[in-house]
Symmetry: C2
Subunit: 233 residues, 2 copies
């Protein structure tokens, strides 16, 4: 009951104007008057690890701003295996395609406990036609999504398994010296390697002292060593 009691708990209406991450979020550029155009509730949800914000093929009725935590975007292969296509963190937007009325292309699943704002499609469409600000933000978000997709392909889909794991840690660290990992299965699904290989590589880095496990799946990382490993072929 430790995890499920925070599952998809409703947290009440969001206060966008006073939002702590607003400067990095979709609504970053909105003006005072733009906010008056919002006539539908935007509410905040907690999502527990393993639960979904939405699934492939769901009716695209909303998009989501990630306020905290980590979300994976997953696509499924014909044989049923899954491949993780992107990771989203605080300030990122999930389900952008809903703004275009397109079906969701992925399932968006919480990896760590996640706090999100659910923004109904109608709000986006209204704002998108009424204010240039949001339109520009949407373009920028799409641009960002493509950059991330390309980075996943190039950095995490190329080179030896060891190099890929090293690059994944460098991405997860993001300015910090520590980072929170997740299941080896997910590591494999991101890097395009098997769960066992992912496990072996992480374990090896721990033995070499490049990673120090502070507590379960929480690591202190040696950035210099990781960068050296990331160069392998």
């Amino acid at each position: 009951m430790k995890k499920t009691d925070i599952g998809a708990a409703w947290q009440g209406l969001a206060n966008c104007k006073g939002c702590g991450i607003r400067d990095s979020a979709l609504f970053a550029d909105l003006t005072e008057s733009d906010f008056n155009l919002i006539h539908l509730p935007i509410d905040t949800h907690m999502v527990a690890p393993g639960e979904a914000l939405y699934h492939v093929g769901d009716a695209p009725e909303a998009l989501y701003t990630v306020r905290s935590g980590l979300v994976k975007l997953v696509q499924y292969l014909p044989n049923g295996a899954q491949r993780i296509v992107r990771l989203l963190r605080a300030g990122d937007t999930a389900g952008l395609e809903a703004a275009l009325g397109e079906p969701y292309r992925h399932s968006a699943i919480a990896v760590h406990p996640v706090l999100t704002c659910r923004i109904p499609r109608a709000v986006i469409q209204r704002l998108s036609t009424e204010t240039q600000h949001l339109h520009q933000q949407l373009l920028r978000r799409w641009h960002q999504a493509v950059e991330r997709a390309d980075a996943f392909l190039v950095e995490l889909g190329t080179g030896s398994a060891r190099a890929r794991v090293a690059r994944l840690f460098l991405i997860l660290m993001d300015e910090q010296d520590e980072c929170e990992l997740f299941s080896r299965e997910d590591v494999g699904a991101i890097l395009g390697i098997t769960t066992e290989t992912a496990s072996r590589m992480v374990a090896e880095l721990k033995r070499q002292g490049v990673l120090t496990e502070l507590r379960f799946n929480r690591f202190r990382c040696d950035r210099v060593a990781l960068r050296a490993l990331a160069e392998d072929s």
Copy 2:
């Protein structure tokens, strides 16, 4: 002198309104009056295989509509190797980031002889603020770019080398029974495998009769057999 004589040859101003691929191109939705907003020349270029539309880091002064041929978007790895991140064909747009004033993230290089329209950034920015039509198209193009990127990652970056090659051919065929291939080096750079492995796989498919080489790098393909091979793990 056979190839270079068509290299980047200037072909004169384009007639967008009467363009043969307009219904699938960036200017698809523009109205008669929208066209009057274009005050800068849009011209057509031939680009020979191996030549670039633009390079990473070039000043983002234009974006390009591909009218015919095949273009690869390339990113370079720290070790100098290249990875092909997407393929663009007739109707696709290269260098969308220029519309946002962002630097080019890739080099766009012709694989087969390419005919393009060069659209100056200023034209896009003008149209983009003046007409909703173009704005919507831009959003849709970004959306499409993300879909393609994800498809590359999932379909071409997963499974055995044989399955990846089979999936690449299925993408290249695109409704037809024949397709035009390119160098084994490029095949490798798309699939994240070595040139030799790419060559072996293509040669093997030829021996098995799944592919029939009609002329150099032009193949008749057995779609059913390819689909079966594409399923391997």
